[in-house]
């Protein structure tokens, strides 16, 4: 949502708010969403917060629906009478196995579409849907649509009262289009006018759409390095257990067998799939207008609500040693290694694909030779500006005497816009004397050597406020930095006194917790 330009942040003025008026509601809704996530995190901890794993929970739920669907397929029979009877037969299987499988199939499908919609909402409110991410957004909308079609056809196959309502509303909706000569709704005037062939067609769609979902999913994650398919193990197991619990507490039941001569009356409706049922009382043409307008709007969001273009990375060919660290660390597969053609002694060099680069700067933090520019700014500019900032803070402390607060250099990313009212023109932070704040697009941009230089220049401590790793704006920035600081990933942090560097994770709205932790860190500095 807010990607500070390092040069500006280190300059004379704090970063101005760059939200254009039409993006302000998005930003406000994003803040609200982040508070909901914080509330859940405080209950269950960030690593277990299901709101941070919605995408992978959707995939896992689809996998459960697929496995249980194969089981149900073995016993399903087509036909207006046979279909409903076969489902009832499955429900009556010994030991409740059939009921469990059928209920798991339904609830996993519900969980899949719920998690997918929440995932899309998170991407929207987290400002991760435009720029190079537009492909993931558009394919995500397509994925939700395909999951809906699969689920809706599944409900149709049961051929109960809900299926009849679905058939009639869908038929009326389609009948206003010019594509069908004979009204589809007439297919459903009597059970004996519905041919078994229709059941085969719907069953075929129900089974083959998941193959399309697989292909679409590949497009969805094609711009992500190390895409995760399933949630962390604990989340996966507990989600699976929750689905079983739901299946045991409330086994999925069919409504009465569909009979077109009987009005449906009050029917149990799956609101995860059919929240629009009350709107079907409107005319089908109004329905088409609503669907068309909503679909066009949602698909156009990456262009309608696009934010300020981030400064993208470029590689300074002369400085590149071909070490491949940036290539390995880029979370968006935006860097490729190509053979050198300039006769230098290194065999390959890194090249950034600007169409994929989101401007996070993680590659800058990975590069030992400072050979990557972000938004045209050389990493050395950042080093120089930081050093002068630290020197100024140290001088101020020396002038103030022995009672002055210890100078602490603070790095922050998504917290920056929420600190705006507290930031002085030189990065000083109201309420925390001695602290000077530097905004980065992502803390993953931080090369450990930068920390070592800041400490060498006179900073008593370096405090890094990154995003919650599960909610990192650049996917892996917080995690990669943690690995660099803990020595499990190159480049490693070295030569620093224990206790003078601290990395912690915050939701962008957790300003008070950040200030409290920063004061505690400053007070505990050696």
């Amino acid at each position: 949502m807010f990607q500070p330009d390092p040069a500006l942040v280190l300059g004379a003025a704090p970063p101005p708010a760059r939200e254009r008026p039409h993006r302000r509601p998005l930003h406000a809704a994003g803040v609200l969403h982040q508070w909901v996530e914080v509330a859940v995190s405080r209950l269950v901890s960030s690593p277990l917060n299901p709101l941070y794993h919605t995408g992978t929970i959707a995939v896992f739920s689809l996998a459960v629906a697929t496995v249980t669907g194969v089981y149900l397929f073995l016993f399903y029979r087509v036909g207006t009478t046979a279909a409903h009877q076969s489902i009832e037969g499955i429900m009556a299987q010994p030991l409740g196995i059939g009921a469990l499988m059928r209920s798991l199939h339904r609830y996993a499908s519900d969980a899949a579409i719920l998690a997918a919609v929440l995932h899309g909402l998170k991407m929207l409110l987290g400002d991760r849907f435009w720029g190079p991410r537009w492909i993931s957004w558009v394919t995500g909308i397509a994925l939700v649509s395909l999951v809906w079609i699969t689920g809706a056809t599944g409900y149709w196959l049961v051929w109960d009262a809900q299926a009849l309502v679905l058939s009639l509303t869908t038929a009326r909706f389609l009948d206003v289009t010019p594509f069908f000569t004979e009204p589809i709704v007439q297919t459903f005037v009597r059970n004996d006018t519905i041919q078994n062939f229709l059941f085969f067609v719907v069953l075929f769609i129900h089974i083959t759409i998941p193959l399309l979902i697989g292909a679409m999913y590949w497009l969805h994650v094609m711009r992500l390095a190390r895409a995760r398919f399933f949630p962390p193990r604990v989340v996966l197991w507990v989600t699976g257990v929750a689905l079983v619990v739901a299946s045991l507490l409330r086994p999925a039941l069919s409504g009465p067998a569909a009979d077109p001569a009987v009005l449906p009356g009050v029917v149990p409706v799956d609101w995860f799939y059919f929240p629009y049922f009350p709107l079907t009382r409107l005319s089908p043409r109004t329905g088409w207008a609503l669907v068309g307008a909503a679909g066009a709007l949602v698909l156009a969001l990456p262009w309608l609500l696009r934010g300020r273009e981030p400064g993208r990375a470029t590689v300074e060919s002369a400085a590149c040693t071909g070490c491949t660290r940036c290539y390995k660390d880029c979370p968006y597969d935006a860097i490729v290694m190509v053979p050198r053609a300039d006769g230098e002694r290194y065999r390959t060099e890194a090249v950034v694909n600007p169409a994929r680069c989101v401007g996070c700067g993680i590659c800058v933090g990975a590069c030992d030779s400072a050979g990557i520019l972000l938004g045209g700014q050389h990493a050395r500019v950042l080093v120089g500006a930081l050093t002068s900032r630290v020197v100024a803070a140290r001088d101020a402390q020396e002038r103030a005497g022995a009672g002055a607060a210890r100078p602490v250099l603070v790095f922050a990313c998504r917290l920056m816009p929420h600190l705006e009212g507290r930031l002085g023109p030189d990065g000083t932070l109201a309420g925390v004397p001695g602290a000077t704040v530097v905004g980065l697009p992502c803390v993953g941009m931080l090369h450990p050597e930068l920390i070592e230089r800041a400490l060498a220049a006179g900073a008593r401590g370096v405090y890094i406020a990154g995003c919650v790793p599960e909610d990192c704006q650049a996917r892996e920035g917080s995690e990669l930095l943690a690995q660099r600081l803990s020595g499990s990933r190159l480049p490693k942090l070295k030569r620093v006194a224990p206790g003078c560097v601290r990395l912690d994770w915050y939701s962008p709205v957790e300003v008070r917790r950040f200030l409290r932790d920063l004061r505690a860190f400053q007070g505990a500095l050696p």
Partner: protein, 177 residues
Amino acid sequence: MSDLPRTVPSRRPGPLRVAGFVVLLVGVSWALGAFAAWPWAATGLGDARLRISLRHVTGFSAGARLLSAEEIAALPAHMRPRDASVPTTGRRADAVLTVTIDGRPALARTYRPTGLRRDGPVYGYEELDVAPGRHVVSVTLAEAGGGRAWPLDRTIEFRPGRAPLVEFAAGVGWRPE
């Protein structure tokens, strides 16, 4: 994640948090069960409804002509008319449906033949809400422009929650109850 605990704090959730996670997921699973089958009144419990379904091929109203022997010969075998003395092309007449219930007009609608040249069958499907009870239903399907008409008078018992069907099929007329 952490080898230097003072630099990178541990993120391992404690048992209370794991318990909170389980409670949350069980709550979500309950909500899944509840909202996967939350009742909705698609129709009122005491409602009754008359359904009328039409499939009809009206007569030609304009442009009807017999194909010449040369034209028939030029057609592929499967497209040749069985009876060359019956016109097979031209604009068909509209169909007009009128419905009265207990003598009161309930519906009057005109249906155009399908097809770009309006030479196809007429299809129609209507639903009329009717108060439960016994009613005299009069339905007439007529070809526009003074063509043939197919009247139907039927006394129907509309029980609550039922939707009796009155159906007209091409070449058959009104189907018996």
